[in-house]
Symmetry: C2
């Protein structure tokens, strides 16, 4: 137990009520972020208010961040899209930002009704400054003093997530999942070691998708780095930018559910992640497609020409494989997101006008992630062996310091994940 802060806040709700706040000692600060399903109905909002009140009773000064009620953001976007095929981005931000303003006001009303003073705050009011990139703005700063002063007066600040204000006073939004980023940024601004609880519709991070691996285990602690790899690979528990921000400012993040008091998963610094296993988790991504260009002349500049053209078109390429053959030609293979496949194929056809181009969509990328593999040799080899033992052919491979990914036929999805999960001893 090397992190006193995260231990201290590990379960505020179940802490003894004798730790009443404002009794001589300085209350500890805690940021709680509630996602759309946590505030999805009047009953859920009431339950969240009760949870906030309990954390206060347990000795915490709480700053709350809330998302829009589930479904509300999509409803607002649909209204805007009915009026225009390309709705003005500034106005879309003004429109969708109201979703969070509704939920924070409702949450404040619910807290008042429990006798807990609370104050809803929009992005404007909390002076969460961003750049002017509407629909994907980046945070520049937050008026932490106001939040600390409000909390010190015994009033719970309830901050609308996902939104900010630019230098011209326009409302901006941070993009999908931006409320996580708001919460982590606030925790970072409130001071060293302030923890951030992220209440979401899953109760933590698992060693694999429990729908695929029934024996998947909830991870107690995971490092920021591992979480980044898992998040970018499709384990959509936390928005990736919020993890980057948490890592940058060493904000301990507790991913949990508001539907129970169970502990979730702590996302923390590497040296605090107890479970320094070789592989932390297995994940998969069905959203990639493979493009192969046959028999390209194997000479300098051919690959560069292709990938420059793809980069110019802002198409992200994930895996790249090039296998020179004896006759001086090579097959060039790369993967892209399925929704960029058509554009990628078009570009490849231009660059290699006289070559055969094959695409394949029925593939899945399975990956193992873990800090431990930096110091353990043979992890990749073991992965390839585990897949081979099941008769699964590997179509492409990429590796990073803490991740190995293999592209396999989509029909092997569940089989591959289970084989790796069990093979690396992750089962409960």
């Amino acid at each position: 137990m090397s992190n006193p802060v995260s231990n201290a806040v590990s379960n505020p709700v179940s802490s003894s009520p004798s730790n009443a706040p404002h009794e001589g000692r300085k209350p500890r600060l805690l940021v709680q972020k509630y996602g759309g399903t946590s505030v999805g109905t009047i009953e859920r909002i009431r339950a969240v208010a009760q949870r906030v009140a309990s954390a206060r009773a347990a000795g915490f000064d709480v700053v709350v961040v809330a998302s829009a009620m589930s479904g509300e953001t999509n409803r607002l976007i649909a209204l805007g899209q009915q009026l225009s095929k390309r709705p003005d981005p500034r106005e879309m931000d003004a429109l969708v930002a109201t979703g969070e303003q509704v939920s924070v006001a409702l949450l404040a009303i619910a807290l008042h009704d429990l006798g807990v003073p609370a104050r809803s705050l929009t992005g404007f009011q909390v002076k969460l400054r961003t750049d002017s990139a509407f629909m994907k703005a980046r945070i520049r700063g937050i008026d932490a003093e106001q939040l600390i002063e409000t909390a010190r007066q015994g009033v719970v600040p309830i901050v609308a997530g996902f939104q900010g204000v630019d230098d011209e006073g326009n409302t901006t939004t941070l993009g999908r999942g931006g409320s996580d980023t708001t919460a982590v940024a606030i925790a970072a601004a409130l001071g060293q070691g302030v923890a951030c609880e992220i209440y979401t519709d899953v109760d933590g991070v698992y060693t694999a998708d429990p729908n695929v691996c029934p024996n998947a285990r909830k991870v107690r602690r995971i490092s920021y780095e591992e979480m980044l790899e898992l998040a970018s690979l499709g384990a959509k528990v936390l928005q990736i930018r919020s993890v980057e921000l948490a890592m940058k400012y060493a904000v301990p993040v507790h991913v949990r559910t508001s539907f129970s008091d169970a502990e979730g998963t702590w996302v923390v610094n590497e040296d605090e992640s107890l479970e320094s296993v070789v592989v932390a988790g297995v994940t998969s991504d069905k959203n990639e497609a493979k493009v192969t260009i046959r028999r390209v002349e194997d000479k300098p500049g051919r690959a560069a020409g292709l990938f420059e053209a793809l980069a110019d078109a802002r198409i992200s390429v994930d895996m790249i494989i090039q296998n020179p053959s004896a006759d001086g030609s090579t097959d060039m293979t790369f993967t892209v997101s399925k929704n960029e496949l058509d554009r990628a194929r078009e570009i490849a056809s231009k660059v290699f006008a006289s070559h055969e181009i094959f695409v394949r969509e029925d593939v899945v990328k399975v990956s193992i992630v873990g800090l431990g593999m930096r110091s353990h040799a043979g992890v990749a080899a073991k992965m390839f062996r585990l897949l081979a033992d099941e008769g699964i052919n590997i179509e492409a491979i990429t590796t990073s310091e803490i991740k190995v990914s293999c592209l396999v036929a989509a029909k092997y999805h569940e089989l591959a994940v289970r084989a790796l999960h069990d093979g690396f001893g992750l089962g409960a």
Copy 2:
């Protein structure tokens, strides 16, 4: 035609498109306010955007004020009330203000889609400063410069009605119908003679309720004073505070409908209201109840004691009648709003503990309103005669300079209104 401004804007939509703006001469300013039904659906919002675009094409710089989509304010209030029997007023304002923020963003999107630059503005952004009386705030000032500058750049400012911001940066609302007041206040701030079009679900002010008098006529022009009496008597076309504000700053107000291009009713200064008839309209109010205290000793201070107690309880008394009889006692009668009847009766029972108290709810107040009656004797007498001719007994009477009201049994409601409407020659 004594008012060049209101003539100029009398029908911007149907004006010749050759009056294009920004061609050498200074465009005229016009405020258009669209009510909830005018922006009630995506199709209606599109129609409103078209109307704004037409006004611009006709040579106007338009500032738009919009209400929430119809039903939206009630939906939001219901959410808040589900969470608390007495929801916090600051948070209710933060909650309901989102309704207008949605409609102004949608309207801006629709205008952009027509190629018309537009910018939605919240109460915060337009710096519409108010006091801190949540749910019934009063306007203190508006940043007109910003609006004029925005319009001058060819961008249509679309201001969220009904909302403002107090000195502490809290969102406030102006109370029901407050968007009318926002629009008139903006027109006043924009400068002398700037007209304000109020688009509502009725197409103007009528000489009587057309549901009661099928031959009721739309009034072309009416004075602020007459409109105030009509509004306070229940002809709910314009919010009363907006009429007071229009009178104070001489803002010409054009009440009309967004469902057609028909002229509505101009509310203007007395000397501009062409139709200086004796009686401008007949109106009625079913929301009053009568309280009678029998056989009160007829001595000084008895009435004062009662009405002071009612005033202390903030109960508004409308009509008061006291008829001394020969035996030294008097019957004391007054009327109050039906929703304050129980409290009024209770107070009367305390002040006159040993007296009989009667209440009557099946009454209606019918009134005639007109500037002309200041210079015409016998108008009240004629009203009483017209009612008597129909066999209608008068239960109470009040008069002001430009209004005479009679309380009659509720069953005579339609009969009384029709008799007065025809008797004063108001029919079409």
